[in-house]
C-alpha cells in the first residue's frame, strides 16, 4: 500500500489566457504536514480548489488514497479551510457547525457532542447558541477552523490558515495543527509566511506563477541548496579591507549583511562548514560563529531568480 494519501500528477488549469496552474505534480504522505508555498497569485488556491474538487483541472489527475481505496476526491473525508473565510453570520454558531458537518455526512447526537466539545475547548461554549455575527473576528476564525475538522477528516486542507490572525491565535492554531498531526491527520496547508511554514511543515511544494519551483522535505530542500550563511560576531574592529580579504579567501562568497561587529556572509559551493569557520578565524577575532542554511524565503527567491523568474520578495513574509 502506498504511503501517499494524495497524488497530484501534471495538473494544469487556465482562466482565459492566464495559466493559473501549469503542470503541477506532487504527493502528500500520510500523516505529514505539507506546505504549499508561494507568493500571492502563485496558483496555490487554484491548486487547492482543484484538489477539493471545487474546480476541475484542464488536464492532469488528482488521486486520493482514503479508506484503503484509490479514487477521486471523497469530500466527506477531507476538511477544508478556504482562504476566503465565510460562514452564515445570521445563523447560530452551533447550527453553522452542525449544518456543515451534516454536509460531510457527520450527523446526529455524536456530531452535536463533538461540536460542543470543540466549542468548550475554544472557550466558546457560551456562544454556541448566539448568532455568529455577534462574535469577534478571532472567535469567528476559531469557529471556521472547527467547521473544517469537526467531521474528523483524514486529510485537512488549510488555505492561508494564519492570515488575519493575531500572534496569540497564530500560536494557538500552530499547536492545533501539530496536535492534529499527532492524531494521524494529514495536513496540507498553503501559506506565504515562510517562517511559520518552516516551523510546521515536514515537506514543501513551492509554486511560482503556477509552476513548481522546488519540492521535497524541508531537510532535503535545505541540504540540496548549496549556499550557506556564515554568521560571525567578532571582538575587534575590522575595516573594510579585512572583510574584502576574507571574501577573497572564500571564493563564491558575498557580504549579505554587516552591522557593527556582526556580519553575515553568503557562501556558495561545497565548502565544509569547519573550513569556512577556520578561514574566517584567520582574518577576524571570532567571538560567536554559526554556519546555517539560508531561510526558506531566501531559498525560494533565489531559486525563482535562477530559473529566470521574476519575483517580488516583499510578498513573502
Amino acid at each position: 500500500m502506498t504511503h501517499n494519501i494524495l497524488d497530484v500528477s501534471s495538473v494544469s488549469r487556465r482562466f482565459g489566457s492566464t495559466k493559473a496552474v501549469d503542470n503541477v505534480s506532487f504527493s502528500v504522505r500520510r500523516g505529514e504536514i505539507m506546505g504549499l508555498l508561494g507568493p500571492n497569485g502563485a496558483g496555490k488556491t487554484t491548486a487547492i480548489r482543484m484538489i477539493m474538487g471545487i474546480l476541475e483541472p484542464d488536464q492532469g489527475t488528482i488521486r486520493f488514497q482514503l479508506n484503503g481505496s484509490s479514487g477521486r476526491v471523497n469530500k466527506k473525508r477531507i476538511g477544508y479551510l478556504p482562504e476566503e473565510r465565510g460562514l452564515y453570520y445570521e445563523a447560530k454558531v452551533l447550527d453553522n457547525l452542525l449544518y456543515l458537518a451534516g454536509l460531510k455526512g457527520y450527523t446526529g447526537p455524536e456530531a452535536k457532542k463533538e461540536a460542543l466539545a470543540w466549542l468548550q475547548r475554544l472557550d466558546l461554549t457560551d456562544w454556541a447558541h448566539q448568532k455568529l455575527e455577534k462574535l469577534s473576528k478571532g472567535m469567528q476564525q476559531k469557529v471556521q477552523f472547527t467547521a473544517a475538522l469537526l467531521h474528523r477528516p483524514d486529510l485537512i486542507m488549510l488555505d492561508e490558515p494564519f492570515s488575519g490572525l493575531d500572534p496569540i491565535n497564530q500560536n494557538f492554531f500552530k499547536e492545533l495543527i501539530q496536535e492534529l498531526q499527532a492524531q494521524g491527520v494529514t495536513v496540507l496547508l498553503s501559506a506565504h509566511q515562510m517562517s511559520v511554514v518552516e516551523e510546521l511543515c515536514d515537506s514543501l511544494v513551492m509554486i511560482h506563477q503556477g509552476r513548481v519551483v522546488l519540492s521535497g522535505t524541508l531537510q532535503h530542500i535545505k541540504d540540496n541548496y548549496e549556499e550557506k550563511l556564515l554568521d560571525i560576531r567578532f571582538g575587534d574592529s575590522a575595516d573594510n579591507g579585512t572583510v574584502d580579504r576574507l571574501l577573497e579567501a572564500l571564493p563564491g562568497s558575498s557580504l549579505a549583511h554587516r552591522q557593527g561587529q556582526r556580519l553575515t556572509l553568503r557562501c556558495r559551493g561545497p565548502v565544509p562548514a569547519a573550513e569556512l569557520v577556520s578561514t574566517a578565524s584567520r582574518f577576524l577575532n571570532i567571538q560567536e560563529c554559526a554556519v546555517k542554511k539560508p531561510p526558506l524565503h531566501d531559498i525560494f527567491v533565489e531559486t525563482v531568480k535562477r530559473q529566470g523568474g521574476d519575483i517580488d520578495a516583499k510578498q513573502l513574509a
Partner: protein, 405 residues
C-alpha cells in the same frame, strides 16, 4: 453531473428553516393574509352595512300625479318613502327635525329632463345612486303613461337581456365551469408571483453567500448541482408554503361570497394547472439561481431579474390573441418553446380544453428543458460562484458552457 440526494435535501432543509426564521418571511406571511382578510372582510361588511342602511325619504310631488307611481312594489326595501307632500316647506321641516334623511323634488321639468333635485341633511348618510335606482322604474312608467303608451308592454320589451350559458359535455348540457377558466388563470398569476418572490430570495441568497464567502465551504462538501437543487427546493418550498397560506386565506375569505363548488373549483381541475406551475417554477428558479451566481452585487442583478421575470409574463402580452384563437398554430408552437411553456399552456387551458397529446408534449418539453436549464444553471453556478470580485459576462458564460465537465 450526478446528484447526491441526501445532501440536496440537507441544503433544502437548511434553506427552508433559515428562510422561515427570517423576520421578513414571517412579516410577509402574516401581513399579506391579514391584508386579504381585512380588505375582503371590510368589503363584505361595507356591502352589508350599505345594503342594510335604510334611507328615509320624502317626495315633494309638484306634479300631483307622480305619487300614484310610487307603489311599494316598485321600490326597494332600503328606500322608505315616509311622506308624500306637495309642499317643499313641509319636507324641509321634517328634514330639519331629523325625521327623514333626504327629500326629492319631483316636477314636470325634472321628469322631462331627467334631473331631479335631491336635498339631504348629511350627504355621507345617503347614497344618491341608491335613490336614483329606486326612482328609475316609477319615473320610466310615469313617462310612458304620459306619452300614452302601454307602459307594461314597453317595460317588458326593454327588459335587459342575459345569457344562460351551458356547455354540452358528454352529450348533456351543464352549467359553464368558471373554475375551469379561473384555475389556470389564477395559477398563471401565482406562478409569476412566486417566481418573482422566490426568484428574488434565491438570487439574493446566492449573491449573499458569494459575498459571505460561505459558498466555498459548501462546495468543499457538495457539488454545485446539489447546492443549486437544494436551494431551489428549499427556497421554493418556502415560497410555496407562503403562497399556499395566502391562497388558503384567499379561498376562506372568498368562500364567504362565492360557492366554490358551483363555479367548478375542485381538486381535479387543479391537477393539470399545478403540474405546469410546479415544473414552471423549477425552470424559472434555476435561471434565477444561475443569475445570482453570475452576479457580483445585488444592485446589478435587479435589472437582470426584471428580464427573467419577463419570461413568464411575456405570454400575458398576447393573452387577448390566445383567448381569441387558442388553438392557432403559433400558439401551439409557442407552447413548446421552453421559457414560455408554463404560462402559454396555462393561458390556453383557461379558454379551451388543450388536447391530451399536446398536454403530454408540452409537459415533456418542459421537463426536458428543466433538466437542460438546471444543468446549464449548475455550470454557470459552478463557474460564477467563486468569482468573488467580478460578474460573469455573456462571453464568460459561453466559455463555461463550452468547457467539458
Amino acid at each position: 453531473m450526478q446528484s447526491n440526494w441526501p445532501n440536496v435535501l440537507r441544503v433544502a432543509r437548511w434553506e427552508f428553516s433559515k428562510g422561515a426564521r427570517s423576520p421578513m418571511f414571517l412579516f410577509m406571511t402574516i401581513l399579506v393574509p391579514a391584508i386579504i382578510a381585512i380588505s375582503g372582510g371590510a368589503g363584505f361588511f361595507a356591502e352589508r352595512m350599505q345594503s342594510e342602511r335604510a334611507v328615509d325619504l320624502a317626495v315633494v310631488d309638484e306634479t300631483g300625479s307622480f305619487e300614484d307611481y310610487l307603489q311599494p312594489a316598485f321600490l326597494p326595501d332600503a328606500v322608505r318613502i315616509q311622506t308624500l307632500t306637495r309642499q317643499e316647506e313641509e319636507a324641509r321641516a321634517l328634514l330639519d327635525a331629523g325625521d327623514i334623511h333626504a327629500y326629492v323634488l319631483v316636477n314636470d321639468d325634472g321628469l322631462r329632463d331627467g334631473r331631479l333635485p335631491l336635498l339631504a341633511s348629511d350627504l355621507r348618510r345617503i347614497s344618491p345612486n341608491q335613490i336614483r335606482d329606486a326612482l328609475r322604474d316609477p319615473v320610466s312608467v310615469y313617462r310612458l303613461d304620459q306619452l300614452g303608451m302601454d307602459s307594461e308592454a314597453v317595460m317588458q320589451a326593454v327588459a335587459p337581456l342575459s345569457m344562460q350559458v351551458q356547455e354540452i359535455r358528454d352529450g348533456e348540457a351543464a352549467d359553464l365551469s368558471i373554475g375551469g377558466m379561473l384555475v389556470p388563470m389564477a395559477v398563471a398569476v401565482v406562478l409569476i408571483l412566486s417566481a418573482l418572490l422566490s426568484g428574488q430570495v434565491l438570487m439574493y441568497g446566492v449573491i449573499r453567500e458569494k459575498r459571505n464567502r460561505v459558498v466555498e465551504i459548501l462546495l468543499s462538501s457538495v457539488s454545485s448541482l446539489d447546492l443549486l437543487l437544494g436551494k431551489i427546493l428549499g427556497v421554493g418550498g418556502l415560497s410555496l408554503l407562503q403562497i399556499g397560506l395566502w391562497v388558503a386565506v384567499g379561498i376562506a375569505v372568498g368562500s364567504r361570497f362565492l360557492a366554490l363548488d358551483e363555479i367548478g373549483l375542485n381538486a381535479a381541475s387543479l391537477v393539470p394547472s399545478l403540474l405546469f406551475f410546479f415544473f414552471g417554477y423549477f425552470l424559472l428558479a434555476s435561471i434565477f439561481a444561475a443569475l445570482g451566481a453570475a452576479m457580483k452585487e445585488a444592485e446589478e442583478s435587479s435589472q437582470a431579474q426584471g428580464l427573467v421575470v419577463l419570461i413568464p409574463v411575456a405570454p400575458l402580452f398576447v393573452s387577448g390573441m390566445v383567448a381569441a384563437n387558442p388553438d392557432a398554430l403559433w400558439a401551439v408552437i409557442a407552447s413548446h418553446i421552453p421559457p414560455f411553456i408554463p404560462t402559454m399552456v396555462l393561458l390556453r387551458m383557461a379558454v379551451m380544453d388543450v388536447p391530451l397529446w399536446e398536454m403530454a408534449t408540452t409537459l415533456t418539453a418542459l421537463i426536458l428543458s428543466i433538466i437542460a436549464f438546471v444543468y446549464v444553471g449548475a455550470r454557470i453556478f459552478e463557474s460564477g460562484i467563486l468569482q468573488y470580485h467580478r460578474a460573469l459576462g455573456l462571453k464568460d458564460m459561453g466559455a463555461v458552457l463550452r468547457r467539458r465537465s
